[in-house]
């Protein structure tokens, strides 16, 4: 519809002003609404709806290499899910995922806020250095995983060397190869990886808080702690909500780092849902199981996203 109108306006009317007029009239009118809605819907259906639906369908079917190509595969209902719930690995991977995501969200947000507040202090080169902190976030996760694996190596790793030199440890710590610490080790690396992104978002949020509020609070006799609690935190709330939602979604997808550092081991001690899903699909060729895990993760992410949207709406209606 648009294209016809737009091209119709073109030939024979050389004056740009005239053409603009027609377009403006068109884009200003409500006539364009269906087009905008249709374009968005088409995009969503093709690039979001289709893969999501495909995954959900796969999780309800029996899928093998042989029938991967066709969509008409044997339906098995919720068998794949009950099979996963019954798997002895399930409780372990669930616990790992909750710990990994929980620790990451808390530490990335708290750490991000601390660093953002630090760089808000005015000192020479503050904004330049803040930019440099982002460097970690720009690197590919595979590179970060390889570097951290080296940092955390038991025998010639940097961290153990530093700790031993400072006299904190007598024996090397087996960060990655001890099931008791492997999840902590990959969490540490992932916090380091995600923190700069949180820091930048929070720095933007902090910049949006009017200076006058701080000045007024200071005149009223509020100290730095009081100012932080009564001015910074409440005004930063929308940003923090967004951040918690975003970092939950990001960490729910974490895969590359763990894959490079531990492969989910030892004995699945650092195995989380995305890693398990990948292992099922591409190592054991259990595509249905992999799809079922993806669907479960999708459900969790969906709940988080809805909670976030509702909080935004509540915030706006205030």
């Amino acid at each position: 519809m648009t294209s016809i109108d737009a091209t119709a306006a073109r030939p024979g009317r050389p004056r740009a002003a005239m053409r603009r007029g027609v377009l403006d009239r068109f884009t200003d009118s409500t006539a364009i609404w269906p087009v905008l809605v249709a374009a968005t819907a088409l995009y969503l259906i093709a690039f979001v709806g289709y893969p999501v639906l495909y995954t959900i369908i796969m999780s309800l079917q029996e899928v093998s290499v042989g029938n991967l190509r066709s969509l008409s595969r044997p339906w098995v209902g919720f068998d794949n899910y009950t099979r996963l719930f019954a798997d002895p690995l399930f409780p372990l991977v669930l616990r790992n995922t909750v710990l990994f995501v929980g620790l990451n969200v808390v530490l990335q947000c708290a750490g991000g806020l601390a660093v953002a507040l630090f760089f808000q202090q005015r000192f020479p080169g503050a904004s330049f250095l803040r930019g440099l902190v982002l460097a970690g976030w720009i690197l590919p996760p595979l590179v970060i995983g390889a570097v951290w694996k080296w940092l955390l190596a038991s025998d010639n790793g940097v961290l153990n060397y530093a700790l031993a030199s400072l006299g904190h440890i007598a024996k090397p710590v087996y960060w990655l190869s001890d099931p008791a610490t492997s999840l902590l080790a990959v969490t540490m690396a992932n916090v380091w990886f995600g923190l700069p992104f949180n820091m930048i978002l929070l720095a933007a949020g902090l910049a949006g808080i009017p200076r006058e509020l701080y000045e007024a609070a200071a005149i009223d006799g509020a100290g730095p702690v009081r100012r932080f609690l009564s001015v910074t935190l409440p005004l930063l709330r929308p940003t923090l909500y967004a951040l918690v939602a975003l970092s939950t979604i990001y960490t729910m997808r974490a895969f590359d780092l763990i894959w490079t550092m531990t492969h989910g081991g030892p004995v699945d001690s650092s195995n989380i849902f995305p890693v398990w899903s990948y292992k099922l699909s591409f190592e054991v060729f259990d595509f249905s199981g992999g799809a079922a895990i993806s669907t479960l993760m999708l459900a969790v992410v969906f709940v988080v996203a809805v909670a976030y949207l509702r909080s935004v709406r509540a915030e706006q209606s205030l």
Partner: protein
């Protein structure tokens, strides 16, 4: 009515013949043969073989793409899911049965039977077996590799061991590993990869076979001894705990850096040894267990396969035949691999001593499978290895758990000799 349907059928048939003729014609003239392979290294001699094909067959040049070894299966699966598969692919030998049993590979039985180049007799039986599923042939061995024991001769001498007499039995290996371990210098006696992936299984299976145990009977005293051997090395500090998360490549790096005095690894590391080792290194065949005297090692290597849905299976097979000619197969050694055909000898091989060792070791190399559920079997074995090495379970308890998974799978489809 009848007449018209017959006429239609005839017309259809003629059409089909015409289309077939057309496609055959176009295949002969200028059609490219698509190939996914694992030849990533720029110095990889197999790349020279590909270039040679292009030179000799300008009408059907290869359109080839490198895929890292670890991503082969994943890429093939993606290709199958989207209907975009190449004409020819290199596959890791233990997953052939998985793909074949699920109908993802072309049946090459007839073409191999008719082939003048590819003759079953010459091939190492282990290599050949990996390509057969249910009596049909789904692939052709491309290269073979196996595991042996690399050791640091300088460290041997420093600890009063004779580098000319490498460990021949488990007892000698244990004694050597204990002597060579030097915590003050950060040196471990022995290195191997027990990572939770196929590599861990690949490295442990030789010890399982040497022990006299097998996958069918993982709870037997012999099988348990094979896992206890590894677990004790870690427990006593003769092997690093990092074997649990390090790949073979990383364990070999540790050996090269002087972090371990011995390492279980393959011929693919020879180039790196030549380049990076700052000490005298040697290779020996893996030891045997006293009282059993079973020589064993793992069998690795890729095979050539034609994915179902390939546009030019016939042309692809011609490429397989070309690559299977002795002239091309001989290139394998300079890439750190062996020809899968026993009778093909490398003239003047680099590292002649290592060549002799690996060639001898190949005679005892056993295939992983073929089994359609090999990945599941392997996963259960990996978990057992890791549970025992972390001390979460005793070797016996860990293997008992694995047995519960592995036995039903083997009852359904037994594996010869495992």
């Amino acid at each position: 009515m009848q007449g018209s349907s017959r006429r239609q059928a005839l017309a259809g048939l003629m059409g089909a013949v015409a289309v077939a003729a057309l496609s055959a014609g176009s295949a002969a003239a200028g059609e490219k043969i698509t190939m996914w392979h694992i030849f990533g290294n720029a110095t990889e001699p197999a790349l020279a073989n590909l270039a040679k094909w292009d030179k000799l067959n300008p009408d059907n040049p290869l359109d080839h793409k490198f895929i890292p070894f670890g991503q082969l299966s994943q890429q093939l699966i993606k290709g199958i899911a989207t209907g975009d598969v190449p004409d020819l692919i290199t596959i890791d030998n233990p997953v052939v049965a998985s793909f074949a049993s699920q109908g993802a590979l072309e049946d090459l039985t007839e073409m191999v039977k008719a082939s003048k180049v590819i003759k079953k007799d010459g091939y190492f039986p282990g290599s050949w077996n990996t390509t057969i599923w249910n009596g049909k042939q789904f692939a052709v061995p491309g290269e073979a590799n196996t595991l042996a024991l690399y050791y640091n001769a300088d460290m041997f001498r420093a600890k009063g061991l004779d580098p000319d007499r490498p460990p021949r039995t488990w007892a000698e290996l244990k004694a050597a590993s204990e002597k060579l371990t030097d915590p003050a210098k950060n040196v471990y006696g022995i290195g191997f990869s027990a990572i939770q992936s196929e590599e861990g299984t690949f490295q442990w299976l030789p010890f399982l076979q040497q022990s006299g145990g097998n996958l069918r009977d993982l709870t037997s005293a012999d099988s348990v001894a094979a896992l206890a051997l590894w677990a004790d090395w870690v427990k006593s500090g003769q092997a690093s705990k990092d074997v649990l998360v390090k790949r073979q490549f990383e364990m070999t790096s540790a050996f090269l850096g002087g972090g371990s005095a011995m390492v279980v690894s393959g011929p693919w590391e020879l180039q790196r040894m030549d380049k990076d080792a700052k000490f005298e290194w040697r290779v020996a065949v893996l030891p045997v267990r006293e009282g059993k005297n079973i020589e064993a090692s793992a069998l690795g290597g890729y095979v050539w396969g034609v994915p179902k849905g390939a546009k030019n299976p016939k042309l692809a097979f011609k490429v397989i035949e070309f690559m299977s000619e002795p002239e091309q197969m001989k290139q394998a050694w300079s890439g750190g691999r062996l020809p899968p055909v026993a009778s093909i000898a490398i003239d003047n091989p680099s590292n002649p001593k290592a060549y002799e060792v690996f060639k001898r070791q190949m005679e005892f190399a056993k295939a992983r499978g073929p089994h359609p559920a090999w990945p599941q079997i392997s996963a259960a074995v990996q978990t057992a290895i890791q549970s025992a090495l972390t001390g979460q379970a005793t070797p016996a308890a860990a293997l008992e758990k694995a047995q519960a998974v592995v036995k039903p799978l083997l009852d359904k489809n037994p594996i010869d000799g495992l």
